[in-house]
């Protein structure tokens, strides 16, 4: 049963990009944070050139899935972070985590704590 998936609107794509960027800033590990930021920009830039109409919703769905992965892992990294900072960079402050991830934080807590 194949239903035609409507292509995502520009607003939806921009909102996905913004959420991705926000979630990349939540990572406590400097390397992962920077990688996620650059990769998000490059990935979206590359996907802008997609011409096949069926590949755009597929890429959007994949993007949504990756966003959920990133949010979950940002929480895991935050919980298991070590106390020391990178010798030449500051790692993310907990307030920033709260401010940026506030509403998403609700969702993440229930993902893992509410097993079953």
């Amino acid at each position: 049963m194949a239903t035609a998936v409507p292509p995502p609107s520009r607003k939806q794509i921009l909102s996905l990009f913004r959420s991705f960027f926000r979630s990349s800033r939540l990572f406590t590990d400097y390397n992962i944070r920077e990688y996620r930021k650059c990769r998000t920009i490059d990935e979206f830039r590359h996907n802008k050139t997609l011409t096949n109409p069926s590949s755009v919703p597929a890429a959007f769905a994949d993007g949504n899935y990756q966003l959920q992965v990133a949010k979950r892992q940002a929480l895991v990294y935050h919980i298991s972070r070590r106390k020391s900072k990178a010798s030449w960079r500051l790692s993310i402050d907990w307030c920033l985590f709260m401010l940026l991830g506030f509403y998403d934080g609700l969702y993440i807590e229930s993902e893992y704590c509410g097993l079953g």
Partner: protein, 455 residues
């Protein structure tokens, strides 16, 4: 609900010492929390007599690589809720674990263009190398008595060959040219009628040189000799195709492709079938070749890592080349007497092995504590002798001692490279300033022509 989250985060961050009192740790966690943390966030880290202001930059990707968050996400359910033994055939836990293992097998196979039936999961590339070298020769020991390998192989292959030599087999260690590649005529001439195995690693872990795999595969096919390769460093970095390379056995490692440590995979060709004698006997898991419970979370992690590597290989490759050029040019602009060990053309960009002339190796490494690099390979860094790989290349003893291996990976950033350049250049300049040998070279005296008198 929101206020609970705020309260818990405030509690956790502001009063770390009060937490054990508020929620007493269980006995298991208390025992695990007992070892005193060597970390003190304000005063930096002090460990083994070295004091640094925080965690070093990680530029040692050939030793191991950090686990990608996407891989960790794939692994966690198999630690937390789906923890069954994949060999349990009677309940859901076993069925779902088995399904996950088979899916991971397909993911690993698709990265090397093999069939899932040809993949056997092991505990790492070392075990795969042992099974390949010792297992194959023991199976065919009636007719085949000869093994060919190179001088720059990984320690586990060389040690397995030494073990075979003690048992009475003949082993030929092919020499390498000064750029790290083997001479194909040497290989052709050393194949005998009783050669049972040729083992050449695809990408060297110390110098990053890529051997001519297709040509070696053709020679082995011509003579009908099984070809084994240790592709632990090559997987996910260069395109690996078992049919193009004509390999019969391939060792793969999980923790070099941003997966978990403790898992590896062995590719064994089915047509023509290669047989091995198992090194781990037991319940006949993994088609009898490697008995023992397959560690589902680790295997799932390796599968996820391989899938991600397939998607990201091109992007990572381009980035690695860009960062390596930045690093090499940054160092060469400010220092002279910098030599790249190994071929510059046939090389994986993420592995840069440099030797600095007129500098002592140990002191250079001791000064580079803010950057996590290695000299030689992790396996041999415990001993004081210079790496055997560099010795096989014909590098002078003093240059071999000062070699540093920079490993660039998926998560390395340009800022880290710039900082590494700065730290390395400062340290080398400081050491050269103190060095009387360098002063003599600056004045124009040729060091090699000096007759050092004995007292």
């Amino acid at each position: 609900m929101a206020s609970k989250i705020i309260a818990s985060t405030v509690r956790r961050s502001l009063s770390p010492k009060l937490l054990p009192l508020i929620r007493p740790l269980s006995t298991a966690a208390a025992a695990a929390a007992a070892p005193a943390e060597p970390y003190d966030s304000s005063a930096g880290i002090s460990m083994k007599g070295v004091k640094i202001s925080g965690r070093p930059l990680y530029l040692d990707m050939q030793a191991t690589s950090p686990v990608d968050p996407r891989v960790l996400d794939a692994m966690l359910p198999y630690f937390v809720s789906q923890y069954g033994n994949p060999h349990s055939r009677t309940h859901l836990y076993g069925w779902e674990s088995d399904e996950a293992v088979e899916a991971a097998r397909a993911q690993v196979a698709s990265l090397i263009n093999a069939s899932p039936k040809e993949i056997v999961f092991t505990s790492g590339a070392t075990e795969c190398n042992n099974i390949s070298v010792k297992g194959v020769m023991h199976f065919y020991k009636e007719k085949k008595k000869h093994v060919i390998t190179t001088q720059t192989e990984h320690k586990c292959v060389l040690d397995s060959c030494r073990h075979l030599q003690q048992e009475g087999f003949d082993v030929t260690y092919l020499p390498v040219k000064s750029d790290g590649l083997i001479d194909l005529n040497d290989l052709r001439n050393s194949i005998r009628s009783d050669t049972g195995l040729v083992s050449v690693m695809a990408v060297n872990n110390e110098i990053g040189v890529i051997q001519p795999m297709e040509e070696i595969g053709e020679i082995c096919k011509e003579f009908g000799v099984p070809f084994h390769t240790d592709a632990a460093q090559a997987l996910g970095k260069i395109p690996v195709d078992v049919n193009k390379w004509n390999v019969s056995l391939m060792s793969l490692s999980g923790h070099k492709v941003y997966g978990p440590k403790g898992v590896g995979a062995l590719y064994m060709r089915r047509r023509p079938r290669i047989r091995v004698e198992p090194q781990m006997n037991g319940g006949g898991q993994e088609r009898g070749i490697r008995s023992g419970t397959v560690p589902t979370p680790l295997v799932v992690g390796m599968g996820a890592a391989c899938e991600i590597a397939m998607k990201e290989m091109e992007y990572d490759g381009k980035r690695a080349v860009k960062l390596k050029d930045r690093l090499l040019n940054g160092i060469r602009d400010r220092l002279d007497g910098v030599v790249v060990n190994g071929s510059t053309e046939r090389r994986y960009a993420g592995n840069l092995n440099l030797s600095f002339a007129y500098v002592e190796g140990e002191s250079l490494l001791m000064g580079l504590k803010e950057v996590a690099v290695s000299s030689g390979s992790a396996c041999t860094s415990a001993s004081l002798e210079p790496s055997y790989v560099l010795r096989a290349l014909g590098v002078d003893e003093d240059m071999a001692h000062t070699s540093i291996r920079f490993g660039i990976g998926r998560f390395t950033t340009e800022e880290e490279i710039d900082k590494a350049i700065e730290l390395t250049v400062n340290q080398v300049e400081k050491l050269r300033e103190m060095s009387p040998l360098y002063e003599m070279v600056k004045e124009g005296i040729d060091i090699k022509s000096i007759q050092w008198s004995q007292h």
